[in-house]
Amino acid sequence: MIEFCGLRLRHRVINASGCFDALSAERVFGEQHFAQFPFAAYVSKTITLAAREGNPPPRLWESAAGLINSIGLPNRGLRAYIDADLPALAGLPVPLITNVMGSTMEEVGELVEALEDQRQVAAIELNVSCPNVATGLDIGADPRGLEALLRHVRPLSSRPLIVKLTPNTADVAACAAGAQAGGADAVSLINTLRAVALAPDGSGAWLGGGSGGLSGPAIRTVALAQVSAVAGRVTIPVVGMGGVSCGRDARELLDAGATLVAVGTESFRDPAAGARIARELEDGFTQIAH
């Protein structure tokens, strides 16, 4: 068993938020998928206070060894998450980490506070890649702002707080240090890198949301650099992610200082990828044919 922020996990591989939907998977693959759940913990997609429709399509663009997405965090809002999703997730065989995002400190506080009574929620991941309305910067892009955010929400929750850092910042290690100083229990990185895809016919931006986020093998070496920089700066555990496709990729992030590894885009190619990567890690990192 692996210990992470007080959670006991079967192995070191979890999912990246927004890259696996346990409830949709149950609908498509049946309850069998709970029995062979690929991840050691399940991270929900981002939940916001109010429901969000998400961005207008097209939302996807396949790039060189990667994917640019502009999904826009569609979700039915906090209330529906608590009333409908949590009961539906009761059979989940692994700890549940709920990912939340607010556009102000107060909103994040409200989300975290509302989850305090939900015993199913084992930990909370804070998505701080939301643009600050005043500055246009991600709220997590400024170390002092991030520290202040954590100081505000830390007293509101007894759960482990994991800060999902934004990579779209000048100094990700300084942001991680800010999160730790404010009381974060762990940090996770990297989120997608801001990217733009152009329509083949020259008519401008392809994605309905304008710009998007790049993921997949294309960002793996960036993830390695950022995870390494962050792990060298903080003492709290680090969840490393970015383009992990096989056990060897996962091992490199662990060697760079991560305690857990998250699998994102590879899960789109194969929903069982997390289990394969965990197996490859345990088998001495030999790559299993997939």
Partner: protein, 251 residues
């Protein structure tokens, strides 16, 4: 019916060409699909690393038909790095697949005859529909070469954009004439402009229409939310809420 969890490998056993189209047959003993369902397809070898380091993600491909002994057939046209690589797959090669996925066509009510309207590569799911439930097929293609795909259906009426085969015009013109003759529910699949015309006709002539939509997908199983379509109830995912939608519910 639910799909097996996780990506599997199935072997290609047949490859046939119909003009610019390729029909790949593979053996999947797990496949008991509903017409209109789809698979996520990639080749097991040499997927990626091509021109522009693509393809990377699997491609959503409609099931054309399922046959005896687990045969499942897919209709493909080379329109980019993913479909190009799939079109090259030869018997003996393996595909890495997830599926069958999605919500297919519902069976027509007992004794009700349906009309099938297909455009281009969109004729694929209608092959299975016609095999299962019959129905007059109306097929639209760009030109005579593409119209070779019409051989996949029984006794189709054909339209081509350039008039080089069949009716000179679009398939919705054939559909209007057929519906004027006898109103019937329509099962359709094709490019967006064609489906818009089918919906408009169905509304005007007060017949039901079921449309199999196509959308780029990263996953095919509801995780990425990348394939949404606007409906009267907001965005819906083509992969899990479709790909077949009641035309009246689309926005």
């Amino acid at each position: 019916m639910t799909a097996p969890f996780g990506r599997r490998r199935i072997g290609v056993v047949t490859r046939r060409e119909f003009g610019p189209y390729v029909v790949l047959g593979a053996l999947d003993e797990l496949a008991r699909a509903q017409p209109g369902q789809f698979y996520m397809l990639a080749t097991a070898e040499r997927w990626g690393g091509g021109e522009g380091e693509r393809p990377y993600l699997a491609r959503a491909v409609s099931i054309m038909r399922t046959g005896q002994d687990g045969l499942v057939e897919f209709l493909l046209e080379d329109v980019g790095p993913g479909t190009r690589r799939l079109c090259e797959a030869a018997p003996g090669e393996e595909l890495a697949v997830l599926g069958p996925l999605g919500h297919g066509f519902e069976a027509p009510a007992a004794g009700v005859e349906v009309l099938l309207a297909g455009g281009g590569i969109g004729i694929a799911p209608l092959v299975a529909v016609q095999e299962r439930w019959g129905g007059q097929a109306l097929l639209g293609f760009r030109d005579r070469a593409h119209a070779d795909g019409a051989a996949l259906l029984r006794e189709p009426l054909i339209a081509t954009d350039d008039g080089s085969a069949g009716h000179h015009g679009v398939v919705s013109e054939l559909l209007e004439a057929e519906l004027e003759r006898a109103r019937r529910p329509v099962y359709a699949c094709g490019p967006p402009a064609m489906l818009a015309a089918v919906r408009q006709l169905a509304r005007k002539l007060e017949v039901a229409c079921a449309l199999a939509l196509e959308a780029p997908m990263a996953c095919g199983f509801g995780a990425c939310h990348g394939c949404v379509v606007a409906t009267v109830d907001g965005y819906r995912r083509v992969c899990v809420d479709g790909p077949v939608f009641d035309g009246a519910l689309l926005a």
